[in-house]
């Protein structure tokens, strides 16, 4: 991702595409798009990734997380979902180069979070996936998350500690 951002490296982009585009397509199909729309939308997500690469900050998000937020916005347009207002951008401090240690720590924490998600009992994991695929309402999430979040809460908290640190 850094090679795409800093040197507009097409070979690096192809590797990202190979890994993420099929997952974005799956994410959109699970969210209710048909295969043609999901294909179109996954391509758009990757085009957006290329054009917005300069905004990628590895201290604030893993590549997977960043792509998730782009795909989420494409899903709103593609599936004509309700508008989702975004928070005001933070004026980030005068730090042109994101802190390497923060970036590394966040990437590791993201991997641990993925492993923790994989290790959840199936019923709980499926609930979290359903929430992110857009299959649960807020009240369903409120009623259900107490349960599945229990075992991965500590992982979410550690990821949060990293983000808090990176935002200082």
């Amino acid at each position: 991702m850094i090679a795409v951002r800093d040197t507009r490296d097409e070979a690096a982009f192809a590797r990202l595409f190979e890994h993420f585009a099929p997952r974005v397509k799956a994410f959109l199909m699970r969210s209710g798009a048909d295969a043609t729309l999901a294909e179109e939308c996954a391509q758009e997500t990757m085009v957006t990734l290329w054009h917005k690469a300069h905004l990628f900050d590895p201290a604030r998000a893993s590549v997977a997380t960043w792509i998730f937020t782009i795909a989420r916005n494409r899903r709103i347009d593609a599936l004509r979902r309700q508008k989702r207002p975004e928070p005001e951008d933070l004026p980030w401090g005068p730090e042109p180069e994101p802190n390497q240690a923060d970036a590394l720590a966040l990437q590791q924490e993201s991997e641990h979070l993925g492993e923790a998600l994989a290790a959840l009992p199936e019923k709980q994991r499926v609930l979290i996936e359903k929430a992110y695929f857009g299959d649960l309402t807020h009240s369903e999430i409120a009623a259900e998350t107490g349960l599945p979040l229990g075992t991965i809460k500590s992982r979410i908290r550690l990821a949060l500690d990293r983000l808090r640190h990176a935002m200082k």
Partner: protein
């Protein structure tokens, strides 16, 4: 932007629902406005988005069309327009954070208030029908009638403060009320209170008159 120590934050379920895009527009607007004022909840949102990233990473891959990569590269080279809202230009700071300014069409002076009695004014914001959002103006020391809720109500303080049976809420604080709660918010004596309130059900007033007035007030 934090001018006051925010002590009432978003719940985990609201943050996860916002990260997953599972909220009605009026709630998303309120969550986005709170996050614009609260760095702690901004970081917590980042953690819930990380969970979304983990879900994406673990998704079982679906094969892309054969010429998918070359088609995508062609779109990049062809400069196919990215349909994405450009970042709004940063304006001088007013009372309203950027997401709210987009709905009001400006800062506080652009709000089109409608009086609803006892000095209280409101302005309903244009959102989808699943939930409603409105700005409330409560003069210092005045009260909003005692009411209960059928659904969830979020109340975010933008200026001044209010007090109810549970606590005191200052700028940036958000109260998340569910159906079990009956409360009568009273604006703090010091300053007029301006709040953003979002609800997914009509409010239920205890007194006879407010109930009769409800259909006309659209609250």
């Amino acid at each position: 932007m934090t001018m006051h120590q925010i002590s009432h934050h978003l719940t985990d379920s609201l943050l996860m629902a916002y990260a997953a895009d599972a909220l009605p527009e009026a709630f998303s607007l309120t969550v986005a406005t709170h996050i614009s004022m609260c760095d702690e909840c901004r970081a917590r949102l980042g953690a819930f988005e990380s969970l979304g990233g983990a879900v994406l990473e673990r998704s079982e891959a679906v094969a892309m069309a054969e010429d998918s990569l070359s088609a995508t590269l062609a779109r990049i080279r062809g400069g196919a327009p990215v349909r994405d809202r450009p970042a709004p230009p940063r304006k001088a700071r007013g009372v309203l954070p950027a997401p709210l300014r987009d709905y009001v069409g400006g800062d506080l002076d652009a709000v089109r208030w409608r009086p609803i009695g006892m000095g209280v004014k409101q302005a309903i914001l244009p959102t989808s029908r699943e939930a409603s959002a409105r700005l409330l103006y409560i003069p210092a020391g005045a009260a909003v009638p005692d009411h209960g809720h059928r659904g969830t109500e979020l109340t975010l303080v933008l200026q001044g403060a209010f007090v109810d049976e549970t606590d005191r809420f200052g700028p940036g604080d958000i109260e998340v009320a569910d159906e079990d709660m009956h409360h009568m918010p009273v604006a703090d004596i010091g300053d007029d209170c301006i709040c953003l309130a979002a609800t997914d059900a009509p409010l239920r007033f205890r007194g006879m008159i407010p109930r009769l007035a409800q259909p006309f007030l659209r609250i």
